[in-house]
Every structure is written in structure tokens, then in C-alpha cells.
Symmetry: C2
DNA sequence: GATAGCACTATCCTCTATGATAGTACAGTA
DNA sequence: TACTGTACTATCATAGAGGATAGTGCTATC
């Protein structure tokens, strides 16, 4: 057993190295609503009910919870204007703007996938 | 009430138009494992157990199930070599290669997010 | 003969994401 | 006075994602 396919135990595989940041990203962006919420806010700051109106099917409960998550992770800023009644506004942070490429590539791929399905099913 | 902010009911908001393909994409790529599996296969075709080795934490059951999903959606090709014993190989399809941009942007953002966290917490 | 690898499948179980519904406190409007 | 809008929170329920464990039929290896 002098040379049973020596594994490079010192340097992990390139694959694992690539996988790590991707899994980190997915941990933050997981779920059905986080990216849609961020996308909605790329069109400008919005109030709670305005976001709800843009995203079909989301419930108040989900929107509230996901917004909190996003604020905690530094991806959304919550601003309260001390008027009567208070006005609450949500907007993107510089950090969430760095998601532009992710969003754009996902959008393009969504379109591509749809046309793929059309071609396949005919 | 002659002009109470007429909504453009004919043309939906730009926001909703952008959201649709993104939600389509997320529907296909959802879950913890699909993208990691595709990433693993970008490093070349692999056998079942080889994929399992690259992706920490995945169980056989999940890998099997997710691979089936991916094959169904045209994102992975399953090849059986009729040797003894049979050798099963998984590889990407041309269509899944169109995910390159998504994966690369996600990888970059994962790295960026990590350094964001480091800067924020100090 | 025992064990290990391969590519799975079958059960069972738990937990979390998501959904449905209702309620709150206040203000403005008809 | 009744209703609506705003920005939520609370409670309850459920489907399904995901995990743990074991088994299968075959072969190759110790």
C-alpha cells in the first residue's frame, strides 16, 4: 500500500473552496421572499404596504419577518419618520446594492429557462 | 374624485415585471442543495459518491432526490455505463451551463458578504 | 468469510418555512 | 358612526424540506 491514490489532504479540493462562499450566500438569501423584497426595493424606497402590493402572494406576517431578517443582516434599512402617524420606510443599504449582479443574472436566467421550457415541450 | 392618482392598470409596474423571472428562477433553484450540486458538477462529471464527498453534510437521500429533480428540470444529465458493475455518472447539460453567471455572482457576493461581516463586527 | 464500496431506496421523524386568520392602536375620511 | 389605511404582532395550522438510520444486490478486496 505504498501509493493508494494519495489524496491532497493539505489543500482541499477546488470544488469545496468554491462551494463555501456559495453556501454562505445561500444561507443569507434563502427562502422564497428575501430576494423579491430586495428587488422591490431596488425600484426605490418603499413603505410596508407598498412592498406588499408589489410582491404577489406575500402575507403581512412573512413580509414583516423577512424584513426584520434583512435589517439584521444589513441588507435593508428601516427608517421611521416621527410624524403623526409615523411613516416607516424601507430602503436598500450599500451592501445590498452589491447584490445587483446576483439579481440581474438570476433575472436573465429566469427568462432563459422559460424559453428553454417552451422549446423543450414542443 | 376626478383624479385620485390614476394607477396604470394596463401596464403592470416595472417592479412586477422584473420580479416574475426572478421568482421563476428561484422556484427551480430553491432549497439548500441544488446549486451546490450544480457547482460540484462544474468541476467535471462525477459519480454519486464523488458528489456526496464534495458537498459536506448532504445525505444520500437528499442527494438522490435533488439529482432526480435536477434531471427532471433538464439541469443535470444522468449517464449509465453498462459495465459490470454499472457506472453511473452525472454531468451538466448545456442548459445548466447557462447558470454560470448566477453561480459566479453568488460566489463573489458570498465572499463580499463575509468581509462585510468582518468589518461590521469590529 | 467478513468487510467495504457503489448507487441507490424505504421508513420514520422532526422542525422550519410558510400560510391563514385575527387583532391592535391610532388617524383620517365619508 | 362606520369604515379604511398603516404597520405591524399573535396564534394556530400544515406541508414539505431535510435528517437519521437501515437495507438491497452486486462486486471486489482483505
Amino acid at each position: 500500500m505504498e501509493n493508494t491514490a494519495i489524496e491532497p489532504e493539505h489543500s482541499e479540493s477546488a470544488c469545496k473552496g468554491t462551494l463555501r462562499p456559495i453556501r454562505d450566500a445561500l444561507d443569507i438569501l434563502n427562502g422564497k421572499w428575501k430576494l423579491p423584497i430586495i428587488v422591490a426595493l431596488t425600484f426605490g424606497e418603499k413603505r410596508f404596504s407598498e412592498i406588499a402590493k408589489e410582491i404577489d402572494g406575500i402575507t403581512d406576517r412573512m413580509l414583516s419577518k423577512e424584513l426584520q431578517d434583512l435589517v439584521t443582516n444589513g441588507l435593508v434599512k428601516r427608517t421611521v419618520e416621527e410624524t403623526f402617524p409615523v411613516k416607516v420606510t424601507y430602503s436598500l443599504t450599500p451592501h445590498s446594492k452589491s447584490l445587483d449582479d446576483v439579481i440581474e443574472s438570476l433575472r436573465k436566467w429566469g427568462i432563459l429557462h422559460k424559453s428553454y421550457l417552451v422549446n423543450r415541450d414542443k
